[in-house]
């Protein structure tokens, strides 16, 4: 409770300082409108549904691409960790592509898929896939060999070892990789939405882009806040339970 009040005070004073900076004219309201104006936009946009529908469009794209990226990345990471040949080929490719900022996939996606949902999906998958692959690979590779040896002596082998020993044992790495993949996917989707206007649905990135074109700074600031809040919520909902589990079992500070 005490921690909650400290956080509350912190954010309240942040908004107060922002308000004062605009009120006293130190910041021009054209460059940055005050919290009142931004709040007003949020209220209107929430009521006419544009903000919610944009958030929903964005989250749908993100979840679909992220899920596919994880589903591909997880088995590939397991494979590269266990096969030298795959590691020398696919592993190196993944390492290279992971260093590529995922927004760099946008031009290619546009040429391949046109201005379509597929292009969005592709960019998000590329953002997720490589970092998930690499963390799973890392996790499996850094497994203490004693776990598999112990499992072997208890009669475990093959798929059973993979499912009941290797996967759970590499969980700390897998979770942190999936978290990183999520961050990359989120970033790349925002970049793609700002960059590409899709008629099939306006996401948060589009709202941000239109705000800039209309010089509506209240909209820009409000949408940025929404993006931050969604990111925070996702972290709490998707990853916190896992991290608590890791902390309880491994005694790690996840």
């Amino acid at each position: 409770m005490k921690r909650f009040f400290i956080a509350l005070t912190f954010f309240a004073s942040l908004i107060l300082i922002w308000h004062l900076l605009v009120k006293t004219g130190i910041w021009s309201p054209v460059l940055l409108p005050g919290p009142g104006a931004v709040g007003e936009y949020l209220g209107v946009a929430l009521q006419d549904g544009s903000l919610l529908s944009a958030s929903w469009v964005t989250i749908k794209r993100l979840l679909a691409g992220y899920l596919i990226g994880c589903l591909i990345g997880l088995p590939l990471g397991l494979m590269t960790a266990r096969s030298q040949t795959l590691n020398d080929t696919l592993g190196v490719l993944a390492l290279g592509l992971q260093t590529l900022p995922s927004v760099c996939w946008v031009p290619l996606a546009l040429i391949w898929f046109g201005q379509s949902e597929s292009a969005m999906l592709f960019v998000v998958i590329m953002g997720t896939l490589w970092s998930v692959l690499i963390s799973v690979d890392n996790g499996v590779r850094n497994l203490p060999p004693i776990y598999t040896r112990a499992a072997l002596t208890m009669g475990s082998s093959g798929f059973h070892t993979l499912r009941h020993v290797i996967l759970p044992a590499s969980m700390p790495y897998v979770i942190s990789g999936m978290k990183q993949g999520w961050a990359f996917a989120w970033r790349s989707l925002m970049a793609a939405e700002i960059y590409v206007t899709l008629l099939t649905g306006y996401g948060l990135g589009h709202l941000l882009h239109f705000g800039r074109e209309l010089n509506a700074m209240d909209q820009v600031a409000a949408v940025m806040i929404v993006i931050v809040v969604i990111g925070l919520l996702a972290d709490k909902v998707l990853f916190s339970p896992w991290e608590r589990f890791l902390h309880r079992r491994w005694g790690l500070n996840g």
């Binding site: 004693i146 776990y147 040896r149 112990a150 499992a151 072997l152 002596t153 208890m154 009669g155 475990s156 059973h160 009941h164 020993v165 759970p168 044992a169 969980m171 309880r248 079992r249 491994w250 005694g251």
Partner: protein, 264 residues
């Protein structure tokens, strides 16, 4: 359940077994023509300095490695791979951190056919009680002390009711007090549920305290040198003067072998 607790211990026959490993500097012989017979229910300790091949022999019996020459037989059948008839207890506890204490003990039981979930839990409870840990069944591994972890590892190794128990310096990383408690526990447990045990250690007193027989190894390459039968009454106390006397005798023999070896 009753049936589960009543499989007889096995007889081991190790015949002319050699094993070498390939390193960067070429082939390193780890064990050279080792021959050893272990009777049903016998507790045999393998003692020697590092690099004498005692752990290699244990891994060969476990089926984790295959011998270059010779054979390892259990009840007349050749050992070709690991199996739950021969359970291993490692120096590091090798418990799974993603499972709680009970989950770790049940892991091996799940791989045993012919048991339902209820029976598995019952068996796990029985062994956790045997090692005195029934109260921490739901604890995570990282919350336990080193001694408690090795007790869980012991319960996990005993639970699938193996016919042979292989212990690779299981108490080496523990403090003296905890070790002494575990010596008493091991003797008590083995009296109740007799199994064939191979126990690797470099602590001669530990070997004399636990074993019916102590086998001496010498290094470079690993060879079996000599053996001592220990017929002190049980339960044995590691601080017993008679035990210390025999341990002294064995230590002198061990030093002799190592010195002869290094002079060669």
């Amino acid at each position: 359940m009753q049936d589960e607790l009543n499989t007889p211990p096995a007889k081991l026959h190790i015949d002319g077994v050699s094993k070498s490993f390939t390193s960067k500097r070429g082939k390193v012989p780890a064990l050279e023509s080792a021959t050893l017979t272990v009777d049903e229910g016998e507790f045999v300790c393998l003692v020697g300095p590092s690099g004498c091949g005692k752990s290699t022999l244990l891994n060969l019996v476990a089926g984790l490695e295959a011998p270059d020459t010779g054979s390892v037989m259990m009840d007349g059948k050749r050992v070709t791979g690991p199996g739950s008839q021969r359970m291993v207890m490692f120096q590091e506890h090798a418990l799974f951190p993603w499972l709680d204490v009970l989950g770790n003990v049940i892991f091996g039981l799940k791989l045993k056919p012919g048991l339902n979930d209820k029976e598995r839990v019952e068996v796990a409870h029985y062994y956790l009680k045997l090692v005195g840990l029934e109260r921490v069944m739901r604890a995570s591994i990282h919350e336990l002390s080193g001694g408690m972890r090795q007790r869980v590892a012991l319960a996990r190794a005993l639970a699938p009711n193996p016919r042979v128990l292989l212990m690779d310096e299981p108490f080496a990383a523990l403090d003296a007090m905890t070790r002494e408690q575990l010596y008493a526990d091991i003797q008590r447990i083995n009296q109740a549920r007799q199994r064939t045990v191979l126990f690797v250690t470099h602590n001669v007193r530990e070997a004399v305290c636990l074993g019916n027989r102590v086998i001496l190894f010498s290094p470079n390459p690993g060879r079996i040198r000599e053996q001592f039968v220990v017929d002190l009454p049980r339960p044995r106390d590691i601080n017993d003067p008679a035990l210390a006397g025999l341990a002294g005798e064995i230590t002198r023999a061990l030093k002799g072998h190592t010195r002869v070896q290094s002079a060669e």
